[in-house]
């Protein structure tokens, strides 16, 4: 019997296409002997489709044609089991497509990576790969991440948070930023990944523009000082709160001042529809940093991962100052592009094995949650004792 694995991709997110690339890559690497793959594509307008053609990256060139070959589906939890059903109207209930054992969400960005999809899967009682609701939600919110990590003593850059409501008074924001940080600063929407909406401002005019851009993507925006002599270093972490290991560090090479969306995902994509994703990006592995700094970054990455109760594989992005050797944790990607597989290959963990480990971690978490022994399924309201009269047994009421 193979393990039925639902791979979820797409979603109502600006990183929809990146998710498709990452998910197709993952599906091509899953151990077909052990897992039966059920790709479930969430369209930009929130319909769910299932079909074999979803496993082929070329299908996505013409989405309507692809969907015509797929079936609309929905998930349903029935007792301890979760089924994938074809969406059908009629007198009789349709037969399920499959009993799903575990879900692998390969989705990026708001509405999916931020705890929303995780909550949905939790409600379905379906074990899923990756961070749980809280860690997903916290890591998607750059401000929440900073605030929490500060309490753990993990280095993060100071920041100012502005909300859309207050954004009408741009002058006040600019004044506050100038007083606190001066220039240059980085402006970011609080909850978007993949560099969307992020820009660097060297002066008042640029700051004004940057705020305008950021507010089109999110209702809350943070501003933080730009790091001088910036070198970005990323480190992936694999495991759970019990045991977690860091990967090799990488140094993404920017063609602009900040690693932009086009750097991250459109680079090297001219030939076949961006099929390489994060893996196709220009980068240096291992990062050219001192062994001491590498050790510090890896330790910090693992500490942050455990502190925020992450699970599965995450990519933690750091900012470092080439001159001083200082470093700050910038953000945690709970579902990193390409699932960061390219960071694990140097350590000898092949993508197929990485995916296998991720699924085991998902099952482990599900098991830990449900292994309470001797939980008698009694309805407290059904016992006479709850209404004041005395039951024959159970006077002490436990």
């Amino acid at each position: 019997m193979k393990i039925n694995l639902a791979v979820l991709l797409g979603g109502r997110s600006v990183e929809h296409e990146i998710s498709v690339i990452s998910a197709v890559q993952a599906m091509n690497s899953i151990d077909a002997e052990k897992y039966e793959i059920y790709p479930v594509y969430i369209t930009k307008d929130n319909f769910m489709y299932y079909g074999e053609c979803l496993r082929d990256i070329n299908s996505y060139r013409d989405i309507p044609a692809m969907l015509a070959q797929c079936r609309r589906v929905y998930f349903a939890a029935e007792g301890s089991k979760t089924y994938l059903y074809p969406h059908k109207r009629g007198l009789f209930k349709s037969k399920p497509i499959a009993l799903i054992d575990v879900a692998l969400p390969v989705v990026h960005g708001t509405n999916v990576e931020d705890g929303a999809l995780q909550g949905f899967l939790r409600t379905l009682n379906l074990p899923f790969v990756g961070c749980d609701v809280l860690a997903s939600a916290v890591c998607m919110d750059k401000f929440a991440t900073k605030m929490l990590l500060k309490t753990a003593g993990i280095p993060v850059l100071d920041c100012l948070l502005f909300s859309q409501a207050g954004s009408k008074d741009t002058d006040a924001i600019i004044k506050a930023v100038e007083e606190k940080f001066g220039y240059p600063v980085i402006v970011k929407p609080v909850n978007l990944g993949s560099s969307v909406g992020i820009s660097r401002a060297k002066n008042k005019v640029e700051l004004d523009e940057a705020l305008g851009l950021a507010f089109t993507f999110a209702a809350r925006v943070i501003v933080e000082p730009a790091v001088q002599n910036l070198r970005e270093v990323n480190c992936s972490v694999l495991g759970d709160a019990d045991e977690a290991i860091p990967s090799e560090c990488e140094e993404p090479v920017a063609s602009d001042e900040i690693l932009s969306y086009s750097d991250k995902y459109l680079e090297g994509s001219s030939k076949s529809v961006g099929s390489k994703g994060m893996a196709g990006l220009k980068r240096k592995i291992p990062a050219e940093i001192s062994p001491e700094l590498k050790k510090k970054i890896q330790d910090t990455a693992v500490a942050a991962f455990k502190y925020l109760d992450c699970s599965g594989v995450v990519r933690i992005d750091f900012l470092t100052d080439r001159e001083t050797g200082e470093f700050w944790l910038n953000e945690i990607n709970t579902i990193p592009g390409s699932l960061s597989f390219y960071l694990w290959e140097p350590a000898g963990i092949k993508y197929t094995e990485l995916l296998d480990r991720l699924i085991s971690l998902a099952l482990k978490r599900h098991r830990k949650e449900s292994d309470i022994v001797y939980s008698f399924d009694t309805n407290i309201l059904s016992t006479a004792g709850a209404f004041g009269s005395k039951g024959a047994k159970g006077k002490l009421g436990g």
Partner: protein
């Protein structure tokens, strides 16, 4: 006149439906055993009276074609219907299982056959035939069961084959069988909890331990994500364990104890031993059999294959020692083939619980769970409510064993109480429903309690007299006995007792209000 006969026939059919449903209910409660069913019928022969009356009237009715008689007949049918109406709030209502439905269909077919034959004859005789049929309907269910026997066997075999097929599709699934006269359900829970530290484990739920129970678990619960299947195996007849092993093919086994459980069906102790050892035979050459080495019958009948023994005696491969009780439970150390691992902590109390834990731990360790990983899992194991459940209520410690009511359990509870340090109070209404031995067993209970308890509170005067006698016979101080009128009176007394030691109250058995 023919119309009246049709009405009468229809009334008879309606009566038949209700009688059959009621009979089916009884038959189900009698576990579909014909002998038991007949014994029940003989005991409740009165239930057949209306049927016989009906039959007589039916015979008279056709020859008389009398309207008055017909009216009486219909009334009688109505009476039968109301008599056989399903009891509301029955303790165990009729469950319409697939098997029951199949038998009901057969009963229906029998009726149709009867009606058909009757109509071929003459509507007059039809009534006689139907009345006869209705009168005999308590037997119809038995007949249906006999007719369906080959079908049922086929259905059963289909499910067994299906379960086997599912298991064959999971070649990497590790199956562990657990049997024993006592303790198998506990060991199953303990082992599953320990294994969950590392593996995805499925166990047979509650006390599902028959072929059909196991098959139901496999068909309904087994998932491709499971790595280990812990299967409880029960037996009442020789060959039962062998049959179960044939279905699930365990790689490893645990025999928790051999005792005189189900002696009435096994006939001899030898058969019990042989049956339990069928599990050892099944895993021989394939895997490990774990045995409770403290059990006399097991020690005397050691299987020849690869085996490991466990228990409290140092002669076992894995044994527990340095067992101490405290208000938070039991602490013990383990020696696994010479390696000593100290201070395991569990909320469970009682010697049998420690033995069962050691068995589960010995097996879990064999399957790759480290003793260190087990510590966290042990904390998750809690006693079922009211079964030697340790409860802290302020300064007072309560051992709630109110579910128990048998002499062995009472003895074990007193032994457990003896392990504690403090002012020991027994609160008990005594044991009931033990037949002729009741007086004697309660007296013995009193004698034993005298050696352990600092104070004894008896709940209810009448049925605790033998305990009182036993206490006095053992030379117990009369002022240290209090006879309470109710449990709340007893507890109030227990709380008010003055002592500077830790107060420990053993609540042994609890009787419903009708005693």
């Amino acid at each position: 006149m023919r119309l009246i006969n049709y009405v009468l026939c229809a009334a008879t059919v309606v009566a038949y439906v209700f009688v059959v449903l009621k009979s089916m209910h009884i038959f189900q409660l009698n576990s579909y055993k014909a002998a038991t069913h007949f014994r029940w019928l003989r005991k409740n022969i009165g239930t057949l009276v209306p049927s016989v009356l009906m039959l007589a009237l039916g015979v008279v009715g056709i020859f008389a074609s009398h309207v008055g008689l017909a009216a009486v007949y219909v009334l009688l049918c109505a009476g039968m219907v109301s008599y056989h109406l399903p009891v509301k709030k029955a303790k165990k209502p009729l469950v319409f299982t697939a098997r029951v439905n199949r038998m009901l269909v057969t009963c229906g077919l029998l009726l149709i056959a009867a009606v058909w034959i009757a109509l071929l004859l003459n509507v007059k005789y039809a009534l006689v035939l139907l009345a006869l049929f209705c009168a005999l309907s308590p037997l119809a269910v038995v007949l249906a069961n006999i007719i369906n026997a080959p079908i049922e066997a086929g259905v059963r075999q289909y499910y067994i084959n299906d379960a086997k097929k599912i298991l064959r599709a999971c070649p990497n699934l590790l199956v562990i069988g657990i049997t024993g006269s006592y303790g198998k359900t506990s060991v199953k829970y303990f082992l599953t909890t320990l294994l969950k530290a590392k593996y995805n484990v499925l166990m047979t739920p509650e006390s599902y331990n028959t072929p059909m129970g196991v098959v139901k678990t496999i068909r309904g619960e087994l998932r491709s994500t499971h790595e280990i299947f812990v299967c409880e195996m029960g037996a009442k007849y020789a060959g039962d364990i062998k049959e179960l092993c044939g279905i699930v093919r365990p790689a490893h086994g645990i025999i928790t104890s051999i005792g005189e459980q189900h002696l009435e069906t096994f006939k001899t102790v030898d058969t019990i031993i042989k049956t339990k050892m069928e599990l050892a035979d099944a895993v021989e050459g394939k895997g490990m059999i774990f045995l409770n080495g403290d059990n006399d019958l097991i020690r005397a009948n050691m299987p020849s294959g690869e085996r490991r023994t466990y228990g409290l005696s140092p002669e076992n491969g894995v044994y527990a020692f340095d067992i101490r009780v405290s208000p938070s439970g039991t602490t013990f150390s383990i020696c696994d083939h010479g390696n000593v691992i100290r201070d395991f902590q569990t909320q469970l109390i009682g010697k049998h619980n420690v033995i069962n834990l050691v068995g589960a731990m010995a097996a879990a360790s064999f399957f790759g769970v480290s003793y260190d990983e087990m510590r966290a899992q042990l904390r998750k194991i809690t006693p079922p409510p009211h079964r030697l459940q340790l409860i802290r209520k302020g300064d007072v410690l309560i051992i709630d064993d109110s579910y128990n009511s048998n002499p062995k359990g009472c003895e074990a509870a007193l032994k457990t109480l003896a392990l504690f340090d403090g002012y020991k109070i027994l609160v008990t209404p005594g044991m009931v429903e033990l037949g002729q031995m009741q007086h004697e067993l309660n007296r013995e209970f009193g004698e034993r309690a005298a050696g352990v308890c600092d104070f004894v509170i008896l709940v209810g005067e009448r049925q605790t007299k033998p305990i009182y006698e036993g206490l006095l016979r053992a030379g117990y101080d009369e002022p240290k006995i209090y006879v309470a009128s109710s449990l709340s009176d007893a507890l109030a007394k227990a709380y008010s007792l003055d002592t500077d030691k830790q107060k420990i109250i053993l609540l042994e058995n609890d009787l419903p209000d009708n005693y």
